[in-house]
Amino acid sequence: MNKDIKMNEKTNNMSLKFTSISENEPFARSCIQAFCLPLNPTISELNDVKTAVSEAVTNCIVHAYPKGVGIVSVEAETSGNRIHIKITDSGKGIEDVAKAVEPFFTTRPEEERSGMGFTVMKAFMDDVKVLSKPGEGTVVEMIKFFNAGIDAEEIGNSWGNDA
């Protein structure tokens, strides 16, 4: 996935494919959470990644395959302190990506949609890219750096008071 990996950084890859039904949302979140753990993310960072993945997977289930089911693919790669996640569907695609990523924009105002999916992904991850072709599908790529803002005090606190 990433061609610029430094030689001394250990990389790890995973790939998931599942049916676009909402039952699989907790499944996708648990998998990505478990995959991140060797990088020692903070609880807050872990929650950011889980939430962003949940948003992208929800988009596949609700918008990419609105009538019926398709395949959602979640690929992830870790190297150093970063995770690169790629979520792909072969659904109906997005007509206007710039519009879709605007806060509060939703194609389904009649439903209870907040229109905040892409806004959450952008706020919770360090980089988000959306590539879509109507009729062919959508690829969302996201990058997160772990322990980015950690300082000595936080490391101290993470040991708890019993240490």
């Binding site: 807050s44 949940s54 209870e112 907040s114 905040m116 806004t119």
Partner: protein, 103 residues
């Protein structure tokens, strides 16, 4: 996901347990609305999120949906005790402007 209710002198407390996402909100929406319909005489509905372990933007839509519905009956909605993990998504959305936070 699980929902519990407590009615205290005109205030209805709605306790949400577990994860609030697309999966759980699909099954919980009607269930909660049917319950809320029995309390339309109350003035305030307080959504207690203390025991919510996960929420994404679908959860925001879920809460805003209940807010819109209850507003028609002049019922005011509040959010109580959200955990730190959920606070970020709540803050980002600006939901506290319509459903103020109480602790």
């Amino acid at each position: 996901m699980e929902i519990k209710f407590k009615n205290v002198s005109g205030k209805l407390y709605v306790y949400l347990y577990g994860e609030l996402d697309e999966y759980s909100s699909r099954s919980m929406r009607n269930l909660l609305d049917n319950m809320l319909d029995q309390y339309l005489q109350c003035k305030f509905v307080i959504f207690n999120l203390e025991n919510l372990t996960f929420m994404d933007s679908t959860g925001l839509g879920f809460l805003i949906g209940r807010y819109k519905r209850l507003k028609k009956f002049s019922i005011q909605c509040f959010i109580e005790s959200p955990p730190v993990s959920i606070e970020k998504v709540l803050e980002l959305s600006g939901i506290y402007e319509i459903m103020p936070k109480v602790s």
